[in-house]
């Protein structure tokens, strides 16, 4: 029975000219989006490799130099593109790609793509995630809005009943028929992406289980949408009204809910401006040790401590270079200040995140969006991971440079390190969080999505008994 219903519905769907046109357009758009994203991905990866190599070359060929000068000269670290960004670009466009690491200050990642684009890009871009998140649900609506209402309008519901069809079988049959075309498009897209990624030489840490899970998330999203579309279609007797209600739901879920969520989050837990944030840090830094100001009280205090500890009466007699030691101590203090303020900022981000999560229960779009970005490693959390790894590396670099001066020179002398010093610094390697870690962080949001599916299914199947 179910098989017959599916066959009949599919035949009807494929006969419909509007479906054929729109499915054709979506497939074409998906191919273009995929192709463009793939090209960009390859380009960015190439640029990343080049920049990384050239950066290291510049760093190693500094020649003879004072290590603290080298610290001010600084180094750049670059954020690698995650393989699954091919499917979901997430917030990558809005976060910078490189962090400048220097002495005394922690810098934000600079040069986001969005800042280099026109305002038009804020409409949304033709990327696979745009198709997956916005357009395919629309196809589901287009196919499913009249599944039940057409039986009433065409007076076929009585004939159906007289055939002895069971309510749940009819629902399942129609449900599957609505799903099949969209799921086919999605499957093609994911399989292509998987094959392309696994065949690339330099594809980073691509894993099939990640892409499979991503596929599962989108599948759940479409199941939820299908449930809702069929539910609306079974409630409303007229196809036109059913379509309008479906459309309103789509706009509310995909456009209005995210915007309202972001406005609520920002009003309740606002971010400081760059200026404010930097001033707070500068203010607190001033209170501590300044490596460039050996005359300050704090520095004098440290000097007295060191002299006492090593039982000598002059800095010259210390077994290490006190200036470098002072510099390192001040660096440690500053790093602490930065860590403190960034953790305050992270707290604020966490609170905003909670607002988004709590609103995920009003729109199935939100949990899908967040899960998709998280699995693709293109969400805000992965940006935090990267910038924290960069900061850790920065602190290590400073320790290495100040340590070099401290060990190899005496107090009062200007130490010039030999040219091969720079090679000894370990390279920055960023490893993005594993799938397990990502999943652990996002279990609650995944549960919300599952809950959406369960509740919408229950509602659909229990309100449909009359059919």
């Amino acid at each position: 029975m179910i098989f017959y219903i599916i066959k009949k519905e599919l035949k009807e769907i494929f006969r419909d000219g509007r479906f054929r046109i729109s499915a054709g357009i979506v497939l074409l758009l998906a191919i273009i989006a995929f192709f463009i994203t793939f090209k960009q991905y390859k380009n960015t990866t190439l640029q990343y490799d080049e920049a990384k190599k050239s950066e290291r070359r510049v760093w190693e060929s500094q020649g003879e130099k004072n290590p603290h000068s080298a610290a001010h000269y600084g180094n750049y670290v670059f954020k690698p593109k995650s393989p699954l960004s091919l499917i979901d670009q997430g917030v990558d466009k809005y976060t910078g790609i490189s962090v400048f690491l220097e002495a005394h200050s922690r810098n934000e990642a600079g040069y986001s793509d969005a800042a280099d684009q026109t305002a038009l890009s804020r409409f949304g871009e033709l990327t696979p995630d745009f198709i997956l998140l916005y357009i395919i649900p629309l196809i589901l609506i287009l196919i499913g809005y009249n599944t039940f209402s057409k039986e009433i309008e065409g007076n076929t519901s009585f004939i159906l009943k007289s055939q002895g069809v069971t309510g749940w079988k009819l629902v399942i049959g129609k449900w599957l028929a609505v799903l099949i075309p969209s799921v086919t498009i999605t499957t093609i897209l994911f399989v292509t992406a998987g094959i392309v990624l696994s065949n690339m030489d330099n594809y980073g840490l691509f894993e099939w289980k990640e892409i499979c899970f991503l596929y599962l998330v989108y599948l759940l999203y479409y199941l939820i949408f299908t449930n809702i579309v069929l539910f609306i279609s079974s409630l409303v007797k007229k196809s036109g009204i059913s379509l309008v209600i479906n459309l309103v739901f789509w706009v509310l879920a995909c456009f209005v809910a995210p915007k309202v969520a972001s406005d609520l989050a920002d009003t309740r837990y606002p971010y400081p401006t760059h200026q404010e944030f930097n001033e707070q840090i500068a203010e607190e830094n001033k209170k501590g040790l300044d490596g460039h100001d050996p005359w300050s009280d704090k520095a004098q205090q440290l000097k007295a401590e060191m002299l006492k500890k090593h039982k000598v009466d002059s800095l010259h007699k210390l077994p290490f270079n006190f200036n470098a030691y002072l510099m390192q101590k001040s660096e440690e203090h500053q790093a602490e200040v930065f860590a403190k303020h960034y953790s305050i900022l992270k707290q604020q981000a966490k609170k905003q995140d909670d607002v988004y999560k709590s609103l995920a229960s009003i729109s199935p779009f939100l949990p899908t969006r967040f899960l998709s970005m998280a699995i693709a490693n293109t969400d805000y959390q992965s940006h935090w991971d990267f910038s924290e790894a960069a900061e850790e590396y920065r602190v290590d670099v400073q320790r290495f440079l100040n340590g070099t001066t401290e060990k190899n020179s005496k107090y009062g002398e200007r130490y010039v390190a030999p040219a091969d010093t720079w090679k000894k610094l370990k390279e920055f390697e960023y490893v993005s969080p594993t799938f397990k870690e990502v999943f652990k962080q996002n279990t609650s949001i995944f549960l919300i999505l599952v809950l959406w599916f369960v509740i919408s299914s229950i509602v659909l199947f229990f309100t449909n008994k009359t059919y």
Binding site: R18, S22, L29, I36, Q47, E50, A51, E55, V58, Y76, F78, V91, Y94, T95, G96, E108, G110, S112, D113, A114, A115, D116, Q117, T118, A119, L120, F123, G124, E125, L126, F130, Y134, I135, L138, Y145, N146, S239, G240, L243, V244, L247, V251, F255, V256, K259, V260, A261, S262, D263, A265, T267, P270, Y271, T273, H274, Q275, E276, F277, A349, H383
Partner: protein, 476 residues
């Protein structure tokens, strides 16, 4: 016929409670959007006020110290940071270079959530690579703001579609069209009037709601009347465009459900697909060169130049003999070398830096050219222009800041080289920054284009209607 039509439409609208529901929904939505916009603008204004007053305070303190110094009174200021040394002022007392909010800024967030609204360019640092991005949660940037522009560009057409997708087909489906056809009236005129009346009511409600919102958030009509008129005419033209589309679809398709599907498809195309495609094409045809590459190039150049700093200073003095010391002593400080090489760096990097701005410029020109492919793009561009939050505005701001920071450095350079003190009398001559908005195209052209679009659709509708009348397929 018109009065009957008017009365009938009004009665049926009032009875179905559509009008009430619509007005209330629009009012709430628009007020909420206005509130969001205002909140952002207020944060921006208060931030700017704070920083300006801080600078003022700091200036006053500096003037006091300078005054004491000139009178020979001793102060407890660290001699290394005395403001009588010009470079200490140039470095430690930068001016605020701000892009102020305008009266209509709150209607469209545009690019304003991406960028900072004031910088303090000092004599140290690269004005070309100054960071303009604002600290923000990227998720927020991704989702965007629920602002007035969003309501008008995205939501309003949907309201129009939901409001009148079956304006004609309904009559046919209820069988009342046959009754109407038997009357001695022109069906086309009747349909046109019916649509015009709905257009009238929706426009009236929208305008009233917008005016209430503007009043509520303290918009000054007197001094900003022209921007108000521009806003209103854009909104009216946009509503007209969508009604023309609705009318055309009603005539062409004339089946409620199919109408709704077609209108939905048009909405998706005009508002989602075309802008996304045009934007993507701008990126593909005029790609912004790699920033990672720029970083490496800047560093390599700087490293190269820093090794030759003494030579650069020599060359600089040869080019600018007025700066060389008269008695031939070569007692040049860090600042001498720095300012001399900074000029060179900027000069050398200018082509590279410009390549980003010109590419962005080209992207904008592309968008400008193709904006006519979708009324949604026209609206977004015009709203951002009215709100002063467009890409062009921020680009202009950046270039003006670059000019200003050079002016700031050049003000101190003669003092540095001639070894003169900075004095209280010079304070008034300090360059200050004033942002000049770029000349934006008037919206008249855009409104006219929207009207032309509507007229084309209306006349196509008329043609099809006539054809259908000829075939006798309008009523059955």
């Amino acid at each position: 016929m018109f009065t009957y039509n008017f009365k009938y439409e009004l009665k049926s609208l009032l009875r179905s409670k559509w009008l009430l529901l619509l007005s209330l929904t629009l009012l709430i939505v628009v007020l909420f959007a206005g509130y969001n916009g205002k909140e952002k603008v207020e944060k921006r204004v208060s931030g700017l006020e704070r920083v300006t007053s801080e600078v003022k305070e700091k200036d006053n303190a500096m003037l006091k110290i300078l005054d004491s110094f000139e009178k020979g009174i001793k102060t407890n200021q660290n001699p290394r940071t005395l403001p009588s040394a010009p470079m200490n002022v140039a470095y430690g007392y930068p001016r605020v270079a701000a892009i102020p909010a305008k009266a209509l800024t709150f209607i469209a967030t545009g690019q304003s959530d991406l960028f900072t609204h004031f910088v303090k360019p000092s004599v140290y640092g690269d004005s070309f690579s100054m960071d303009y991005t604002e600290l923000a949660n990227p998720v927020q940037l991704l989702f965007g703001t629920f602002d007035l522009a969003f309501v008008i560009i995205y939501i309003l057409p949907l309201i129009i579609i939901a409001f009148s997708y079956n304006i004609f087909s309904e009559e046919k489906e209820y069988g009342s069209l046959k009754l109407l056809a038997s009357q001695p009236i022109s069906i086309y005129q009747w349909l046109l009037q019916k649509t015009a009346l709905r257009f009238f009511w929706l426009t009236l409600i929208t305008l009233v709601v917008i005016v209430i919102t503007l009043l509520f958030f303290g918009f000054e009509f007197g001094s900003n009347f022209s921007s108000f008129i521009q806003l209103i005419s854009l909104v009216v033209a946009y509503i007209l465009f969508w009604f023309a589309v609705v009318l055309l679809v009603n005539i062409l398709v004339n089946n409620s459900a199919k109408n709704a599907v077609s209108l939905l498809a048009i909405w998706v195309f005009v508002i989602l697909i075309i802008p996304a495609v045009v934007g993507q094409m701008a990126n593909v045809f005029y790609p912004i060169p790699s920033r990672t590459k720029m970083i490496s190039e800047v560093r390599e150049l700087k490293e190269e130049l820093s090794k030759k700093q003494d030579k650069i200073l020599d060359n600089f003095l040869r080019d600018h003999p007025e700066y060389a010391t008269k008695n031939g002593t070569k007692n040049y400080s860090f600042w001498h070398k720095y300012t001399a090489s900074q000029d060179l760096i900027e000069e050398e990097l200018k082509p590279l830096i410009d390549s980003y701005e010109t590419q962005l410029q080209k992207q904008q020109e592309w968008v400008k050219l193709w904006q006519y492919s979708s009324p949604a793009i026209i609206m977004q561009q015009s709203f951002n222009n009215l709100a002063h939050t467009s890409t062009a505005h921020y680009q202009e701001y950046r270039s003006q800041v670059a000019v200003f920071s050079k002016e700031w450095r050049n003000f101190f350079k003669p003092l540095l080289y001639s070894n003169k003190d900075f004095t209280t009398s010079m304070y008034k001559e300090l360059p200050s920054f004033k942002y000049e908005a770029p000349k934006s195209n008037s919206v008249i052209l855009k409104v006219v284009i929207l009207l032309v679009f509507s007229l084309i659709f209306l006349s196509i509708g008329r043609q099809i209607f006539n054809k259908k009348i000829g075939k006798g397929s309008v009523i059955v």
